[in-house]
């Protein structure tokens, strides 16, 4: 012990810091294959969806007049949003299922910096990749839409903002996945809760013949994100401001609960 006494002195050597925990989580995300596979899959699905929809579109079809010119090209996000949420679930619940969490929490015994670093890493990575993906998706889909009633350019009013909002929405969904993974500590549990709560539940609510349930359903994370993908406001979806606010509240509430429980529960 005497030989190691400097360990407790305030020397500039190794010590925990929020930035270092963030760096560690960044390293963890990229050193398992599933991250690469899932981000690639969600990117390919989204772009392929945009191209398929754009290429098969013919203007003047009676049923199509209601299609939002941006949202319909982002059709692939119906699938990729689940993949992105799974990235979030796996990032934390995967640590519980493998036992890695014990190593993690011994290294960072205050625990909470781990969850918030994971949230920061997920937010940064998912926002950057989805924004890029959505811009590419929109642009590629539009290649087939010259001369149709859905022709739009990236620089048209509201388009870039809609894509930014969509990327923010998808990022929030990934964070909701992370929060559910942290709460349930189980990969299948987290994925089931996400699909059930975010995708299925609002649709179930809409089946009831009560307007109030239909309004509530608009503010569920999945539907709020769909609303952010529309260029024009419609009564089907919440408008941009409230949708972003609802997503923020969901994310903060779930991650906040996860933080409290992380502090309180045994690892």
């Amino acid at each position: 012990m005497t030989t190691l006494a400097p360990a407790t002195a305030p020397a500039p050597g190794p010590a925990l810091s929020p930035a270092r925990v963030l760096h560690s989580e960044w390293h963890k995300l990229w050193t398992v294959r599933s991250t690469w596979i899932m981000l690639a899959a969600s990117t390919v699905l989204t772009i392929a969806g945009g191209i398929a929809i754009g290429a098969s579109y013919e203007s003047g079809q009676a049923a199509d007049f209601a299609l939002d010119p941006v949202q319909f090209l982002l059709f692939g996000t119906q699938f990729s949003q689940i993949i992105l949420a799974v990235v979030g679930v796996l990032f934390i619940a995967g640590e519980y299922s493998t036992g890695m969490v014990r190593s993690t929490m011994v290294a960072v015994p205050r625990r909470v910096p781990v969850l918030w670093s994971k949230a920061g890493v997920v937010a940064g990575v998912v926002f950057t990749t989805t924004l890029t993906t959505l811009v590419v998706t929109f642009t590629s889909g539009q290649l087939f839409l010259d001369g149709t009633d859905k022709e739009l350019s990236l620089t048209d009013r509201g388009v870039l903002g809609t894509l930014l909002g969509s990327a923010a929405g998808l990022t929030a969904l990934a964070l909701v996945g992370l929060g559910l993974g942290a709460l349930l500590r189980s990969v299948p549990g987290g994925i089931t809760a996400f699909i059930g709560g975010v995708t299925v539940l609002p649709e179930v609510l809409r089946m009831f013949p009560y307007d109030v349930l239909d309004s509530v359903a608009k503010y569920f994370p999945g539907r709020a994100t769909e609303g952010l993908m529309t260029l024009h406001d419609t009564p089907d979806y919440a408008t941009t401001g409230p949708a972003l606010l609802a997503l923020t509240l969901w994310t903060v509430a779930i991650l906040g609960t996860a933080t409290v429980l992380l502090r309180r529960r045994d690892v």
């Binding site: 012990m1 005497t2 030989t3 190691l4 360990a7 407790t8 305030p10 050597g13 190794p14 010590a15 925990l16 810091s17 270092r20 925990v21 760096h23 560690s24 390293h27 963890k28 050193t31 398992v32 294959r33 599933s34 995967g94 640590e95 493998t98 036992g99 890695m100 969490v101 014990r102 190593s103 993690t104 929490m105 011994v106 290294a107 960072v108 015994p109 205050r110 045994d266 690892v267």
Partner: protein
């Protein structure tokens, strides 16, 4: 230095660890012994802040583990063997842990080398044998060059060469002045590795002693002597630490000294010996007697 004070852990009405108070000192290997399910792992998890005690406190180096600014420099821990993501390579596992403290890459390479994992550092942990997994756990424990090591059943699943390697490693770490706290359910293993013993059964402290004392007080040192002059020999052997009892006429059971001393004493005084047999009641038996007694005792108490 590890200090546990009245450490208690209950799950519902089941008490896993009960009122444990002990100190683990630097410079020696301290064995933490108990049958499976005695509460060893739970105690270690409480020391590391993974589980919070129902009552009592545990400190490492005078403060709770989580209060240190560089926890990995304070304590290196090996918990259950699989505390690793199987999809990550050994190198990246250690690197991710090192990054939390800003521990340089060179140190990662060093602990890989120390544990003989350099050649497999780039392989995913999924394909590791149990022994390689244990070595990776030890590498992670050594990453911060810690003042204290807490190792839960480190020899589990190791081949004889690996067991010997751990034994030597633990002794050398203690010789460097570190606190080394190692759990095991094998008395025989601890007798070879540890100097100090903390023995628990059903979450209760049964013994806090040195290996030497435990060996002396257990039946391990008994020598059976058959002689026609039992009375005279008993007087000749009398010494503060020697205990002589007689199970049958002309038969002595001597504790606290060895066969050589008894034989030489008898010869020097011309006492004939018909039999001189060191009785090898194993340490394992003594340990089992101790823990079994405690279990019966607690069971009896609970009935009352």
């Amino acid at each position: 230095m590890i200090a546990a004070t009245e450490l208690t852990k209950r799950y519902g009405d089941k008490t896993v660890v009960s009122d444990l108070t002990f100190t683990v000192r630097p410079g020696t290997v301290t064995g933490f012994l108990g049958p499976n399910g005695a509460g060893k792992s739970t105690t270690m998890r409480m020391i590391l802040g993974l589980d919070s005690p129902t009552h009592g406190t545990a400190t490492v180096g005078d403060r709770p583990y989580a209060a240190h600014r560089a926890p990995l420099q304070e304590v290196g821990a090996l918990l259950e063997a699989r505390s690793v993501h199987p999809g990550r390579t050994a190198y990246h596992h250690l690197r991710a842990l090192a990054l939390t403290h800003g521990i340089p890459r060179g140190r990662v390479a060093h602990v890989l080398d120390l544990t003989g994992l350099t050649d497999v550092a780039g392989r995913r942990v999924k394909g590791f044998s149990l022994g390689m997994g244990q070595r990776l756990g030890i590498a992670a424990a050594l990453l911060g060059d810690p003042a204290t090591l807490i190792l839960d059943e480190p020899v589990n699943g190791l081949d004889p060469e690996g067991v010997l390697w751990i034994r030597t490693l633990l002794k050398s770490l203690a010789a460097e002045g570190r606190t080394v706290f190692v759990s095991s359910h094998l008395m025989s293993e601890m007798a070879l590795t540890a100097e100090h013993l903390i023995i628990i059964g059903r979450g209760r402290l049964l013994a806090d002693t040195t290996v030497d004392t435990f060996v002396r007080e257990s039946g391990a040192g008994t020598v059976k002597v058959v002689t026609p002059e039992a009375g005279r020999l008993t007087q000749l052997l009398a010494a503060p630490h020697v205990d002589v009892s007689s199970s049958a006429s002309g038969t002595l059971d001597v504790r606290g000294t060895d066969a050589e001393h008894i034989g030489r004493t008898a010869a020097a005084h011309g006492i004939p010996l018909f039999e001189l047999t060191p009785h090898a009641a194993s340490l394992e038996e003594a340990f089992m007697d101790l823990t079994r007694d405690s279990l019966e005792y607690t069971a009896h108490l609970e009935q009352a």
